[in-house]
Symmetry: C2
Amino acid sequence: MMHISAAAKTAELPVKTVRYYADIGLVSAPERSEAGYRTYDESAVRKLVFVRRAREFGFSIDECRELLSLYEDQNRSSADVKRIATKRLEEIAEKQRELQSLHDELAHLVDACKGDERPDCPIIDGLGWVVASE
Amino acid sequence: MMHISAAAKTAELPVKTVRYYADIGLVSAPERSEAGYRTYDESAVRKLVFVRRAREFGFSIDECRELLSLYEDQNRSSADVKRIATKRLEEIAEKQRELQSLHDELAHLVDACKGDERPDCPIIDGLGWVVASE
DNA sequence: GTTGACTCTCCAGTTACTGGAAAGATTACG
DNA sequence: CGTAATCTTTCCAGTAACTGGAGAGTCAAC
């Protein structure tokens, strides 16, 4: 049994965030000590770790909610979990493609820029190209 | 001279966003018609396009502010612009690396998951690995 | 003349927290 | 035992960059 700062430290989350997760009902509200302090047991901390990891994987809070209910459900099929994770994987791949074209386009502009004292600047011109090409 | 919906359409931005950009002072407040309608000329629309492009490149509103002032300044050196763009480029590259390791880690879990009716699930286990490995 | 499209302002909600104030509880030191 | 530092509580507000909606005024067309 520990108080919030120990739980937060163990789960590697800010104290504020731990409180927040209970406030929005992502994790269940913890028991309170006589003085009203939140108390956490090993199982509660485990769930916090689970959520932190899932968030690091880019799952939204709502996806975490879904994953957590699967995590807590002894009878869920691994197919349900795989479905969510695969969807997320596709989103990551899409984001990677976007980022790549962004990178290439901007790198091209930066390469073309002399970076000297003169005002000619392919980057500025490039950002306005839609109009410039009219 | 046009009203807001034509300007928004030309700049390929939502009407709400065009108003918003003026509200926060990112672009200067447009002239008003007698009835109080915002009116946009070619130069105003060009700046909206510039901002949209810069946002698409992932520049924050504050960076857009900076770029826009450089855009409007005939005397700025291209070095100033290159500095901002290069910084952004590094951020993109960093984000790409993060996304890649995320992708690899999650893909590994998804591959390991049978996705059947049984509750054994390497994805769920993997999300909790920090505790599981204790 | 009235229907429909367009515009205005203002307020609230979104996501996932984060910061700070004010007040009570606990612990550590001398 | 007193007190100072630390921890915890609640509540309110703010962040980024919009987005949605209400209620009201304006304009063009049939």
